[in-house]
């Protein structure tokens, strides 16, 4: 009798817990976000150009005595190097380590680099026509046949590449401290420490910005710095799914900058490496427009998280990202691939990630076959 009574209590407890859980929605919108991220991947031929051309520049400069570079000669920097580019890769940033001193004027160094690079198209046969021009901080090479831009920034290293280096300042023609390569390394480790959620979140917020704002857009690096700051301040939890994270990101941005709407100034955005404000020139009207878009989308994203079905959630997310409505298709390419990975053929890495091929970057186990059972 006692045993029966105890079982009855335990069953009631399970029922009560189930009732509480039924009040939550469990829609993950995983398919929507998998498709969206997949659609933001650059086309293969652009990836090839982005991978090949900077290496060509490095090899070319190593042969030149009119613009001496020193080890490690160059580094890829910018969004391509951090894999945070969205859509087509049209430009790549490359840092070249100039064998010079801070006493030299940035303008002279850039002119020298431009003159040297004007012979670069001949160095690479078959690349076609290229236009070489200079700005206050870099030399710009545009490859017409590939519709591809290369931004070559001269850098002076006074203390090794692990420490900040000096690049031309955009505004006043002096050398300023920067740490673009250090930031590439920092970002990679930061992303890993946060369950690989930082990179896709940065790509999503950049894409959201591009879809919701045609003009007066905040710079990509500003958005990236805000994402990093919010993770560091523990306003974002990388254990959450990407859908929850993105909704929380919009809400956290709104909360972070809300107070500035009542003022006339714009909020500072700290550089993740050096701490200085990287957005001193953010125009007030641009900031206000950005905040209106954030507010609208944050409200919609909150609704998406409370949707009772994945169909409802998808419609709302499509609205947030201004994507064309599509008939829900479980036959999308990312999910077709997912469904084909089975225990017995799939690999599981040390983080529990499933893949159909053995991952190169991390130890993994080839899973054994099983069939799920249960009541």
């Amino acid at each position: 009798m006692v045993i029966v009574h105890r079982l009855a209590i335990e069953t009631d407890e399970v029922k009560r817990r189930d009732f509480m859980l039924n009040e939550k929605t469990f829609v993950t919108s995983g398919e929507f976000f998998a498709e969206l991220l997949d659609s933001l991947q650059p086309p293969a031929e652009r990836l090839e150009a982005a991978q090949k051309i900077p290496g060509n520049v490095r090899e070319f400069l190593k042969t030149r005595s009119d613009f001496k570079t020193i080890f490690p000669y160059s580094h890829l920097v910018g969004s391509y190097a951090r894999h945070t580019s969205v859509g087509d890769i049209k430009d790549v940033d490359i840092l070249v380590y100039y064998d010079g001193t801070l006493q030299e004027k940035p303008r002279d160094v850039i002119n020298c680099l431009r003159n040297t690079l004007s012979e670069f198209p001949e160095f690479i046969k078959g690349i076609g026509r290229a236009e070489v021009s200079s700005s206050r901080r870099s030399v710009h090479v545009y490859f017409e046949s590939k519709d591809f831009h290369l931004d070559v920034v001269p850098a002076i290293c006074t203390d090794g590449t692990e420490n900040p280096i000096f690049v031309p300042d955009r505004e006043d023609g002096t050398w300023i401290k920067s740490h673009p390569y250090g930031y590439v390394e920092f970002f990679s480790h930061f992303n890993e420490r946060h369950h690989d959620k930082v990179r896709p979140l940065v790509r999503l917020i950049k894409h959201w910005r591009d879809m919701n704002m045609e003009i007066m857009k905040p710079k990509s690096y500003w958005l990236e710095a805000v994402v990093i700051a919010l993770f560091q301040e523990k306003k974002l939890n990388s254990r959450d799914s990407l859908a929850v994270l993105f909704a929380n990101l919009l809400s956290a941005i709104r909360e972070r900058f809300q107070a500035y709407l009542a003022e006339t100034s714009v909020p500072p955005i700290p550089d993740p490496m050096l701490g200085n404000n990287i957005a001193p020139n953010w125009e007030r009207s641009h900031f206000e427009t950005f905040m209106r878009r954030v507010d609208e989308s944050a409200n919609k994203a909150a609704l998406a998280l409370r949707a009772q079905t994945s169909e409802q959630a998808r419609l709302i997310w499509q609205d947030v990202f201004v994507t064309a409505p599509s008939r829900k298709s479980w036959n999308s390419q990312p999910f077709k691939q997912i469904a084909q990975i089975l225990p017995g053929t799939g690999f599981v890495n040390t983080l529990g990630r499933i893949s159909d091929t053995r991952p190169a970057s991390m130890p993994s186990v080839l899973s054994k076959p099983t069939r799920f059972h249960g009541e």
């Binding site: 039924n22 959620k197 990407l242 040390t350 529990g352």
Partner: protein, 132 residues
């Protein structure tokens, strides 16, 4: 028939393959481990508990909460990772090669089920495969 793998050996192999797991209890005939699994880059990170008593493993998801009436759960809400009749799990098996990877797959298919109401993973042929 081979002999059961000792708990201590299971522990070493588990931590070797999944170094982010840790033992909460470890003694002859009994072990308990807690660890994180994240089946895909866009997934939540699931905290799971593996209990191994008398050569029988059981796995629970500690967080986030699983949806009520999710498929392939036992009444005690432990995950149903194999069909005993298949013989896919025996005490000669290594937990790190079977139970833990199967748990990752379970979570993988669970997330797809949440969105689509379909369990796309392999299933034993039994009744009552209820959807959402």
């Amino acid at each position: 028939m081979g002999s059961a793998i000792p708990v201590a050996v299971q522990h070493n192999l588990l931590l070797h393959r999944f170094p982010f797991f840790r033992a909460k209890a470890l003694r002859t005939g009994y072990a308990e481990w807690i660890g994180d699994l994240q089946p895909s880059e866009i997934s939540a990170v699931y905290s799971i508990k593996v209990v191994y008593v008398k050569n029988l493993p059981k796995v629970w998801v500690l967080s986030p909460d699983l949806k009520p009436r999710a498929p392939h759960l036992y009444k005690d809400r432990s995950l149903c990772l194999y069909w005993p009749q298949d013989g896919s799990w025996t005490p000669e098996c290594i937990l790190a090669d079977t139970i833990v990877p199967w748990t990752a797959f379970w979570l993988y298919y669970y997330e797809i089920w949440l969105d689509t109401n379909k369990w796309v993973g392999p299933e034993s042929p039994h009744k009552n495969l209820q959807g959402a």
